[in-house]
Amino acid sequence: MSTLVDDLRARLRGPRGVRRELLREVEDGLRDAAEAYENAGLPPADAARKAADEFGDPAALAPLYQAELDASRGRRAALLIALAYPTLTLAWDALWRYTSVGDGAAPDGVATVAGALDTGSYGAAIVAAATIPLYGRASAATARRLTVAVGLLGWLSLVLIMATSIWMAQASGDHAVRDFESNVPSMLVVGLTVTASLAIAGTATLALSRWWEPRAAR
């Protein structure tokens, strides 16, 4: 029975906690089945073999289990994107509004690009949030596609936001960068942005990896 569970475990990719719970449930079920056959009079080894035979072929069953892991991974990534981008946008807005950072005249175009960045961030968050209920009745194939799409959304939005931010910093000149370095709230917001960006990059990479990982590994 433990060989069967190990075989299934080796075929699955996804959040460790969810995978552990799924496999624990399987193990419990197999033990229950073996106990029932033992109580019916079968020798322990035969009871365990019968329970394992009835379980089915791990290779054929793995995609069903993988769908739950894909859904969990995709939903986590979508939730992070949906929460992180509005939080960051509000944090940056508060910085411009309530501190002296950015008080100097911004060069032409920076305000327009900053506005577009805010809209893009909210847009990415809304799209990510909209995928979460779609996981409800998603089939294994749909859950996998959705998760890959959320991973793509995470990386595309991150690259666009980073490129735009770097351009704005360069266009604003050295004095703007010095303003940041001498200001505690701005360093806190930068720290929050770096942490959230790393978290999105990590979770989006894991979600995107379902593109090239086998449907149910091995």
């Binding site: 719970e21 799924l22 449930e25 399987v26 419990d28 079920g29 229950d32 089945a33 029932a36 329970a51 009835e54 379980f55 089915g56 072929d57 791990p58 054929a60 069953l61 069903l64 289990y65 769908a67 739950e68 859904a71 996981y135 409800g136 009745r137």
Partner: protein
Amino acid sequence: MKDSVRGHLDAMLLAVLEPGPLHGYAVIEALRQRSGGRFDLPTGTVYPALRALERAGYLSGSWSTVGGRKRRTYALTGSGRHALSAERTDWRDFSRALDATLAGEA
């Protein structure tokens, strides 16, 4: 037979959970008892099907101690009851139409 059973597995799982919460293996036993042992699916298909129904909001799952061992127990939710009722109506309509078609001329 196996494919048609698999196609209706969700409805059957909701039906066996209608009287009250059960853990995975108890669900499998209830399926066997209700079908008189005729629905012989690989038991490994039942656990992910229960999780998928939970993901859809039709079941709520939680870990609890049953018989001295920690087990994941599933209970039907309000939307699960609605889904079961809709499945029953669909099945009755389908089976009535099939009966009429297969019966032929009287």
